[in-house]
């Protein structure tokens, strides 16, 4: 799939986070109260209050020096235990990568560059993450097994500090590994590409707009025409009609122009011909800038499209209309009072079609250095790594090392876009209330075995009501799991860099930071709590 970045809805995301955190802690408190009631009877409230008080005392008496001591210890531990041998694997991989990726004297093309970039970023990811899976999940269990933790917890070190120290220490180690590897990887990429082809290492900074369409009669529609593609990612506008693809950019001002005062618009449309026509000429498009407030429109000249490679046009700030003897100012006249710029695209050729998706047209700000984009993508890996460390350390506070590793690994595997979509399907929509086709676990098994159509209602009796109830509970459990499993949709920054784009803050970096932060608090608190209620003398 082509990647189609979007903004993270900030306020709903925060609300969702609060609901999930609140819900889970409420559930945890309820369960612990109930179990204390069973074990201790009447004293349970007193005990609970003591526990809460201890918990809070630990929270407030946290010491930075102790946390750093523990972090340093964690780092030293991994370092002295030769965890950095991972560099040897890394070095070997890169020594021999040239063998496999060598281009046999072929020219360097865009896909080759893309392959190099994704290879390096993926290699870094897959060398760092397994290391962190194992280190973070084995750290605390190993200390408990060797009882070295005894000497720590009998000092004034809070369990919270132990968890934090572990997280920080592993993060520091992982960051070191990442930095070294990414610098080497970056040098490798640059050296692998001959000097004359290095211009392909670009880092475009796009301003993306929202796309809407008008059909051939000029009516607003959600999508253009499907010319028979299986994949409906792009939709098409018909030539020489009122059909338009309309991009609305917000926040456009003078700083969107380059030093010479031009606005760069890049597009990459696809053509669909209903007849072959003049084969030796590409289909034509033009831009129209429209300001609905002033009711003015400016149409550019027509340009031929260039499929896949794209066209970048510099639009001068002064737009002259010789026929009317007028001159418009792109910024002053066409940017609306709320900072929006509307760019309409039309296809010139009659009965021919141009296909486009939201990402296919953008305002191109001055390019960044390739290194900027590359290291931003590395930062994305760092965020994933922190998530892994958080989950690993948290799991290791209540599980043995191998099991904690497995749990972390499974959580990570489940964090992809596809699995989340699959879970959404099973749950039957974003919310559990939407219901699901063919029922939940037991109901669907019943329907499969009895060959019952999903649209047929189940017989109305208690057995089926109970079954559906159980299904509801199972589905709710799945829903809860889905809320807890990280969703790494925004973390895939490698796509941006491999495709020659800068990693945008609002669509990728920012959400990643927020998501990672969102896991810090629950993971650390859960780890702290698990370590606190646990007897460290394991028998």
């Amino acid at each position: 799939m082509s990647f189609d970045p979007d903004l993270m809805p900030l306020v709903p995301a925060l609300r969702h986070w609060l609901i999930v955190i609140g819900g889970l802690s409420a559930a945890a408190i309820l369960v612990s109260l109930l179990s204390m009631l069973v074990i201790h009877g009447g004293k349970c409230l007193q005990l609970f209050a003591d526990e809460v008080q201890g918990f809070l005392t630990d929270l407030v008496s946290i010491s930075i020096r102790r946390v750093f001591a523990l972090a340093k210890l964690t780092f030293m531990e991994a370092y002295r235990r030769k965890a950095l041998l991972v560099f040897v694997v890394f070095a070997l991989l890169f020594m021999f990568a040239g063998w496999f990726m060598g281009n046999d004297g072929e020219e360097i093309t865009k896909p080759t560059v893309k392959l190099y970039i994704s290879f390096v970023l993926r290699a870094i990811t897959w060398l760092t993450l397994p290391l962190m899976f194992i280190l973070s999940s084995f750290g605390i269990p190993e200390e408990i097994r060797l009882r070295s933790l005894h000497t720590v917890v009998t000092k004034p070190a809070r369990r919270l500090e132990i968890v934090l120290g572990r997280v920080l220490g592993f993060t520091a180690l992982g960051s070191l590994v990442l930095v070294v590897m990414s610098v080497v990887g970056w040098i490798w990429i640059v050296r692998q590409i001959p000097a004359d082809a290095r211009s392909m290492l670009i880092c475009r900074v796009p301003v993306r707009g929202n796309l809407s369409f008008k059909d051939r009669n000029g009516q607003d529609v959600e999508k253009g025409i499907n010319v028979g593609d299986i994949n409906e990612f792009r939709s098409y506008i018909e030539g020489a009609t009122k059909a338009r693809a309309i991009w609305t950019f917000s926040g456009i001002g003078e700083n969107s122009l380059d030093s010479e005062g031009n606005l760069h618009i890049e597009n990459q449309f696809m053509a669909f011909r209903s007849y072959k026509g003049d084969m030796n000429r590409q289909l034509l498009f033009d831009y129209q800038f429209r300001n609905p407030e002033k009711n003015i429109t400016y149409t550019t000249q027509a340009w031929p499209i260039v499929e896949k490679r794209g066209v970048t046009k510099a639009i001068p700030r002064k737009l002259e209309v010789p026929s009317e003897g007028k001159t418009y100012d792109l910024i002053k006249d066409f940017v609306t009072s709320d900072g929006n710029l509307i760019v309409e695209v039309s296809c010139i050729d009659r009965e021919q079609y141009l296909g486009m998706a939201r990402i296919d047209l953008f305002i191109r700000l001055p390019d960044q250095n390739f290194a900027v984009g590359f290291f931003k993508a590395v930062f994305g890996i760092e965020m994933i790594m922190i998530l892994v460390v958080l989950m690993g350390v948290c799991a290791s506070t209540f599980l043995k090392g191998p099991i904690a590793t497995a749990l972390t690994f499974i959580l990570f595997i489940l964090s992809g876009e596809d699995t989340h979509k699959f879970m959404d399907q099973l749950i039957g929509g974003k919310s559990i209330k939407d219901g699901w086709q063919g029922g939940g676990f037991f109901e669907s098994i019943y329907r499969i075995v009895t060959h019952m159509n999903p649209t047929t209602d189940l017989p109305a009796n208690y057995a089926f009501t109970i079954m559906q109830g159980v299904d509801w509970v199972l589905t709710f459990f799945l829903w809860t799991c889905k809320q807890v499993i990280p969703h790494l949709k925004y973390f895939n920054m490698q796509e941006y860099v491999a495709n020659g784009f800068d990693v945008p803050f609002d669509q990728s970096l920012g959400p990643c930071l927020l998501i990672t932060l969102a896991y810090v608090l629950p993971c650390v608190l859960l780890g702290f709590f698990a370590l606190r209620i646990r007897e460290l003398e394991s028998k």
Binding site: S2, M101, G102, D104, K110, F119, A123, I230, R273, K276
Partner: protein, 453 residues
């Protein structure tokens, strides 16, 4: 016990590793271009055509690579095909091509894989592009892809046939043939400096001649490797080289090249057809389906030849019958006649007159055009009245050419508001084909395209 310190021991290990690396590199180094043939293993691999271990562009960090390393090649290929389909549906052609590369690296001796993917690139993918250069690029990619398949599978008649097929049909017969054939000699990629892509057209020849060469290779593979093909009936399959020569001669005429080169081309085509192809031996089963008798026949055999070779008079009748049937199937007589006809000076003259008439008409030299078209019509009238070329009267391309000549001739007179005479050369041909609307349309379209642009 050793008296080495830990550090010394580590140094010894390091040296050991480095020493072990030397044989690994000398054994395993892959080939990189012509200068370095690669390590021993690579050279052996090349020698014995065992390219599997050359994993090439399979992304070493990708999931597919992991599966391969775990011995699950089939699963990896499955995964790659899924990816391939996704990329195809999303029109990510470059990515799809890279995936294709990975697939063939994993299955380098699976002929169908080469054929299917090469075809997909040359025919399906190329058609998805808007710019003709882009289309040609993918035709080339597909063709080269199949050529590489042939390198990996030197004993495959099928693949060799498909390579030739791309040169002949995809480049020669496509709607964009005019551009493709030009690009074949003058690649649009600036790095070839207006020359052909040396990988695709190493000898700088016409695409039909390259196709002919490739078809001949396919025939050779069939002969030497005893690997029969199952694409066409063998008589048709063996006719391909000669047919390419005919195509070449025809296209020269179409491009307005007359004279010695063209006549030579026709001559060679004729000789390819009658002396080479006509003398090929086909083993034909005749008689009872369950118990057929095999006879060796040649399409160029005369009745006397048959009588000489076969004793049983019953068999003579049956073999004659069979030979006739095969000749009809491959249009043996037609092409012989055509070849004979086109090698004649008068035919060449008539072609040239009609072609030049169109050119003059285009440049609005109407008097000359009128004269030339009439000369051409007269020429063809004469040729077609010869009994030995009787068969050509129903040959579409030739008839089309003649009718177009008449159309030009009439058009000029309409423009000059002259009265068209009641009788003129080739009028009988016009009358004969009056009912053929398809033909009429073609002529009309060609006329419009040529003159009303």
């Amino acid at each position: 016990m050793t008296s080495l310190t830990s550090q010394q021991r580590k140094l010894v290990y390091l040296c050991g590793i480095l020493i072990l690396l030397i044989p690994i590199i000398s054994l395993g180094l892959p080939a990189s271009g012509k200068d370095s043939p690669g390590g021993t293993l690579t050279r052996l691999r090349t020698k014995y055509e065992l390219g599997e271990s050359d994993l090439g562009k399979v992304d070493p960090s990708g999931a597919a690579m992991n599966l391969v390393l775990l011995g699950m090649r089939g699963v990896a290929v499955n995964l790659l095909y899924t990816q391939f389909e996704k990329e195809r549906d999303a029109k990510q052609w470059e990515e799809m091509r890279a995936t294709t590369e990975s697939i063939v690296r994993l299955q380098p001796h699976f002929e169908k894989v080469w054929e299917m993917n090469g075809w997909n690139l040359a025919y399906n993918t190329s058609a998805e592009w808007d710019a003709v250069e882009d289309r040609y690029y993918y035709v080339k990619v597909g063709g080269l892809f199949m050529k590489r398949g042939v390198e990996q599978n030197r004993k495959s008649t099928h693949l060799q046939y498909h390579v030739a097929n791309v040169y002949q049909k995809k480049i020669g017969n496509a709607d964009e043939a005019k551009y493709y054939r030009n690009y074949f000699l003058h690649d649009p990629d600036p790095k070839f400096e207006n020359g052909p892509d040396p990988a695709f057209n190493p000898d700088i020849m016409d695409n039909y001649l390259v196709a002919k060469k490739e078809y001949i290779r396919a025939c050779q593979i069939e002969d030497t490797e005893h690997r029969p093909q199952h694409i066409l009936d063998r008589t048709l399959f063996r006719s391909m080289p000669a047919r390419c020569q005919f195509d070449y001669a025809q296209v020269l005429q179409k491009d307005g090249k007359f004279g010695e080169v063209t006549r030579e081309a026709w001559n060679e085509a004729l000789s390819d057809w009658t002396t080479k192809y006509g003398q090929e031996v086909f083993s034909i089963p005749i008689g009872d389906l369950n118990n057929p008798v095999k006879f060796d026949i040649r399409l160029g055999m005369s009745r006397d030849d048959i009588k000489k070779e076969i004793a049983n008079p019953d068999d003579v009748v049956r073999v004659t019958d069979m030979v006739d049937r095969y000749r009809k199937m491959v249009n043996y007589y037609y092409w012989t006649t055509r070849g004979n006809c086109e090698s004649e000076q008068t035919t060449a003259e008539a072609h040239r007159s009609l072609y030049e008439a169109s050119q003059k008409y285009k440049s609005q030299e109407f008097d000359k055009a009128l004269e030339l078209s009439f000369a051409g019509m007269t020429g063809f009238d004469k040729i077609l009245h010869q009994p030995e070329y009787n068969e050509l009267k129903s040959e579409d391309t030739l008839v089309e050419e003649c009718l177009l000549g008449i159309r030009v001739w009439k058009g000029i007179q309409e423009l000059g508001q002259l009265k068209i005479p009641n009788d003129y050369p080739l009028k009988w041909l016009e009358v004969e084909h009056q009912g053929n609307t398809q033909l009429q349309q073609n002529v009309e379209r060609a006329y419009k395209r040529a003159f009303l642009q």
